[in-house]
């Protein structure tokens, strides 16, 4: 069997060198996305009704970081630190978190259409927020965010219950998510019918997703969720790759499939629910960022997690910039803009790569 191929050995690159070269390409892509994110973040901080240069943004952030904040122009400091930076940090973290949630969902459920929205997390959060906004029903008296978070966790709890007692397959898990999605959506629509105009306006703002009200405190919480999620997905990246080959094959290669899947679902819920509870529903990034990155660097989850994280952050930061400038001074909901930017980009890549990626 091997004799025919030994003729080709000479002149061909070795598996190791080719693999290492590809790895360097993947790392370069991650660094490139991070650098672009930094540039987008600074550019974003210069935008707005009060003109500030990139130099002033750098200088303000640096001086505040080293404890020299008092020496700064108070207006510039207020605009950069209190008004623009919280939104930028939130955009970076939310894009990152939604993208890694999408990677984990798609890999562990072996389904390209899986994302936090498919699983019902986002609509669960919508329902929780709707009940709080329209009826003032707040669990633990903790406000809209807590309500949204608790309801966002409901689909995961149902799936965990089914897995424990019925041994749910990935397909069943997705179908349960889809069913809950429809159920929650129907309830949200009913709640809307009963809402007064003010409540309806608040609900609309929440349901299209925006970064307006996210504070540093919120971002710290989101960051903690993202770090936990990203660290675990990175740690089990090889197992997630293997799970893509099918449950039986994965088990014979030493992966405790059911356990890994349940932990991943819990962490995806934590990350995605943590984000949408503060920002409202920002769709699309969780579904599409992983696919766009797959087309560029391949599907190895070890590199896909950080690359999708960096790309998701970049996508949301760019979407937020567009949301702020396109009809300024009115700010568009960022959730709408992500779909406007990501949709055509995704279609373009599908048309360009359909044979390879979606075989």
């Amino acid at each position: 069997m091997g004799s025919a191929m030994t003729e080709q050995e000479s002149g061909t690159v070795t598996v190791a060198s080719s693999y290492r070269k590809n790895t360097k390409r993947k790392i370069a892509f991650i660094i490139f996305c991070l650098l672009l994110s930094m540039i987008a973040a600074v550019y974003s901080a210069t935008l707005g009704s009060y003109p500030i240069t990139a130099q002033e943004v750098y200088s303000t952030v640096w001086n505040v970081l080293i404890g020299n904040g008092d020496s700064l122009d108070p207006t510039i400091r207020h605009v950069v630190i209190d008004l623009r930076l919280p939104r930028i940090i939130a955009g970076f973290l939310c894009g990152l978190g939604l993208a890694i949630s999408g990677v984990a969902m798609q890999s562990m459920l072996k389904n390209p259409l899986a994302d936090p929205y498919t699983m019902g997390i986002s609509t669960g959060a919508s329902l929780g927020a709707s009940l709080a906004i329209i009826f003032g029903i707040e669990l633990f008296n903790a406000g809209i965010v807590a309500n949204a978070f608790v309801f966002a966790c409901v689909p995961a709890l149902v799936i965990l219950f089914l897995s424990k007692f019925k041994g749910a397959t990935p397909l069943v898990m997705i179908l349960v998510g889809v069913a809950l999605n429809y159920l929650f959506s129907a309830i949200v629509q009913m709640v809307r019918l009963l809402a007064d105009p003010d409540g309806l306006s608040d609900l609309f703002r929440w349901s299209v997703g925006n970064l307006d009200g996210v504070t540093y405190e919120h971002s710290i919480l989101i960051m903690v969720f993202c770090i936990i999620g990203m660290a675990y997905f990175q740690y089990v990246s090889n197992q997630l790759n293997i799970m893509g080959l099918g449950d039986e094959t994965a088990k014979t290669m030493g992966v405790d499939v059911e356990r890994k899947r349940l932990i991943c679902i819990l962490l995806v819920t934590l990350v995605a629910a943590g984000i949408v509870s503060f920002t409202g529903v920002i769709g699309f990034i969780g579904l599409v960022a992983p696919h766009i990155v797959r087309i560029i660097i391949g599907s190895d989850v070890k590199y896909l997690v950080p690359a999708a994280a960096a790309f998701g952050a970049l996508l949301l930061l760019c979407s937020d910039i567009v949301a702020r400038v396109v009809v300024a001074p009115t700010i568009l909901p960022v959730g709408v803009v992500t779909s406007f930017i990501g949709g055509p980009l995704f279609l373009l890549l599908i048309l360009h790569n359909s044979k390879e990626e979606w075989a």
């Binding site: 069997m1 091997g2 025919a4 191929m5 030994t6 080709q8 050995e9 061909t12 070795t14 598996v15 190791a16 080719s18 693999y19 590809n22 790895t23 798609q106 890999s107 072996k110 389904n111 390209p112 740690y235 990246s237 090889n238 197992q239 790759n241 293997i242 893509g244 080959l245 099918g246 039986e248 094959t249 088990k251 014979t252 290669m253 030493g254 992966v255 405790d256 797959r294 391949g298 599907s299 190895d300 070890k302 390879e356 990626e357 075989a359």
Partner: protein, 260 residues
């Protein structure tokens, strides 16, 4: 790699009140290529899946090195035993190199070492996959994909290699190449290669030992010329056959029955 032993002890498996395996007892304590034959639905794949912990027997036990497989952790068992399934496809794109590299999981840490890559390269060469190394695994033909899965099984460095119909979808040349390779691999590495197979002649030509199953149990067990007889084939498959000797190997000619 050492010689691991495997044993099925009075193994019973069934579901929905249907018995698939009915008290199978087998022992494998020598290296070599062992083929399990039998009609569809007789329990061949079920048997090997009980052996690698994919299925839990109703009663009886499957032992590896004298220890019940139920007592092994999945990771521990994967170091001893690799399974090349009849079906398994990647959901997302991955190169052939990446697909084979996954087989290193039971032995490797989080990072990919040069040793892992060297073993992948060796397997690629052994199975003649050099020209496909950077190609998308999902774009390969069925036969090429089979070879990739076998390569993945090899880099797992198992002491027992189990394969479910590794020669299905392959043309005759590749069937012979794969069987020749597996026989030689079992001999040089001194391991047990246990495979579920359907082709009687390929089995007769290459297997060191043949297990013929019938009615959820072992009907005959031994070297090919003792197992693949005209009487056994007629009883198990319900077809008439003529067995001739070709250079010391039984060759089976199936006799078609035409309606009069």
């Amino acid at each position: 790699m050492g010689v691991s032993t495997m044993e099925f002890k009075d193994l019973v498996f069934g579901y929905d009140q249907k018995i698939i395996l009915n008290g199978v007892s087998l022992k494998f304590d020598e290296p070599g290529l062992v083929c399990i034959l039998g009609p569809n639905g007789v329990g061949k794949t079920t048997l090997v899946k009980c052996g690698n912990k994919l299925l839990k027997p109703t009663s009886g036990d499957a032992l590896v090195d004298g220890k019940s497989v139920s007592e092994y952790g999945l990771h521990e068992l994967a170091k001893k035993m690799a399974f090349v399934s009849a079906t398994s496809a990647a959901t997302f794109s991955m190169t052939v190199t990446e697909a084979i590299l996954l087989g290193r999981h039971p032995h490797a840490g989080w990072t990919t070492t040069d040793e892992d890559l060297q073993k992948v390269e060796d397997a690629i060469k052994l199975l003649g996959l050099e020209e496909f190394a950077q190609r998308d695994f999902r774009m390969l033909s069925a036969g090429q994909a089979k070879r990739v899965k076998i390569a993945r099984g090899l880099v797992q460095e198992p002491e027992i290699l189990i394969l479910d119909e590794p020669t299905s979808n392959l043309d005759v040349k590749y069937q012979m190449d794969v069987m020749k390779f597996l026989k030689s691999y079992a001999k040089t590495k001194g391991i047990l290669v246990l495979m579920v197979c359907h082709d009687l002649n390929i089995t007769a030509a290459y297997a060191d030992r043949v297990i013929l199953m019938h009615g959820g149990n072992v009907f005959s067990d031994g070297v090919p010329k003792d197992v693949l007889t005209e009487e056994n084939i007629e009883t198990v498959y319900n077809v008439k056959a003529k067995v001739i000797d070709v250079m010391g190997t039984p060759h089976i000619i199936l006799i078609p029955e035409y309606e009069s």
